[in-house]
Symmetry: D2
Subunit: 149 residues, 4 copies
Amino acid sequence: MNRFEPRDPDYRETLAGYVAAQSYLGLIGASLGAVAPGDVEYRVPFRREIGQQNGFFHGGVIGGIAEAVMGAAASTLAAVGSNVVGAEYKINLLSPALGPLLVARGIVVKPGRTLIVCRADVEVEDEHGARTLCAIAQGAMAVIAPRAG
Amino acid sequence: MNRFEPRDPDYRETLAGYVAAQSYLGLIGASLGAVAPGDVEYRVPFRREIGQQNGFFHGGVIGGIAEAVMGAAASTLAAVGSNVVGAEYKINLLSPALGPLLVARGIVVKPGRTLIVCRADVEVEDEHGARTLCAIAQGAMAVIAPRAG
Amino acid sequence: MNRFEPRDPDYRETLAGYVAAQSYLGLIGASLGAVAPGDVEYRVPFRREIGQQNGFFHGGVIGGIAEAVMGAAASTLAAVGSNVVGAEYKINLLSPALGPLLVARGIVVKPGRTLIVCRADVEVEDEHGARTLCAIAQGAMAVIAPRAG
Amino acid sequence: MNRFEPRDPDYRETLAGYVAAQSYLGLIGASLGAVAPGDVEYRVPFRREIGQQNGFFHGGVIGGIAEAVMGAAASTLAAVGSNVVGAEYKINLLSPALGPLLVARGIVVKPGRTLIVCRADVEVEDEHGARTLCAIAQGAMAVIAPRAG
């Protein structure tokens, strides 16, 4: 499945720093799950604050975590010292996201030098551990080169 | 500019209830701005909690508010008693969203019976009130008919 | 891989009729490849007429075949007598599509009753049969119910 | 409306050459309409060959012309000698495109140095000249710098 070599040998530390620097992730309560080069998982437990009018995870949170996990996956393959920012993404919401845990997985499809194209799957897990795919996403992350100097 | 007739004469009250029911909007600190049929504005003041690693508004918040404001615009044109949920959306992030206020405006382009297609513009406002377009979005909101009863 | 049951036992005949009715497919020279429920392949040989300024397959053809193959995949899971039309799609172009054959594969991700969400991969094949992924797509196809009658 | 200065003073000639080099445009019968910096129109008369199963313009043609007209609009603002290629786009199909003429208009929203973000509106014109919006699109075109030499 995983075919990419990280450009940064310390990509796990880099990713941990990247996650820690994004206070939005703390706000929605996201934490890192499994990590491999070009393949990252975020986990978001349900709280009422991130719900919508019917008690499901809000579409804005689902889109936000999909974007964030694609950015994280891209960051594991970016050059040392570069800055990864979302350029664009698209998401289809498939099923009501009802359950105690949201699991988003971002996978790099094409690790370009300036644009890294990714896909993401977002699943909701119920009390018994059964998962339902609730959203799929696709987008491009931009790699901002480190400043010379 | 505005060419749509609301199906629900009390669409402003319906929208206010819709907004109040979405605790996610409270979490990111969004409030309603200008409202017309098929044309709604949300305003989000900056706080560190909704930022990313460089101190800009996080892409997940920008996507989330774009989705939310398109849903809100669609809800002003949906049938009485129906439920509007995001089906899909796409966003391009244009410029770093750096400033004290994010203003998202959602506009209905095609108010279908089961799918309402919208566009959104997201601007960031600086300390002097000058605005920069920082993201554009496009998507379809699904209208779930009220249960027969 | 394939987990869907077709609603239409004669879905292969239905698909063949669907393909034959779309003269656009003839115009670009697309033909059906492998077919399974919710999983369809189109093949498009290169001709100068479907190229762009650098001699690659034109982005409009790549997007068009991606949309068409998602529609075809969706049509294999739609109800008997229904009409499948594209509602929306998004595509990322990954690599120059240079080679004698384009192969597009559409896969159904979520076969809803009124919207069928799909993904597509488009590969270009070189003279030696080696393939390069040149585009990925994602979109929703709308199912128009048969007229009562 | 139009706020962009072309980087290339001969952008009209450059665009005409760009259009002539894309044989795909000839295949679907597209011709240039109105042109301004960052704002280009293509016109496509209906022929059976570019239709789908119900006699409408095929979704693949609508997506293709939307992509092409965004690329053309972007090319009017790109640096002299650069090469504009589609990076990604998204389209919502709003109404059946039934009529003798398709008119696609691409507008640049953000003319970045390496990515130019655009929107497009596609209208169908009936026998009496009345137009219906049948699709809206949004996407990013990539600017490939001229080779040093």
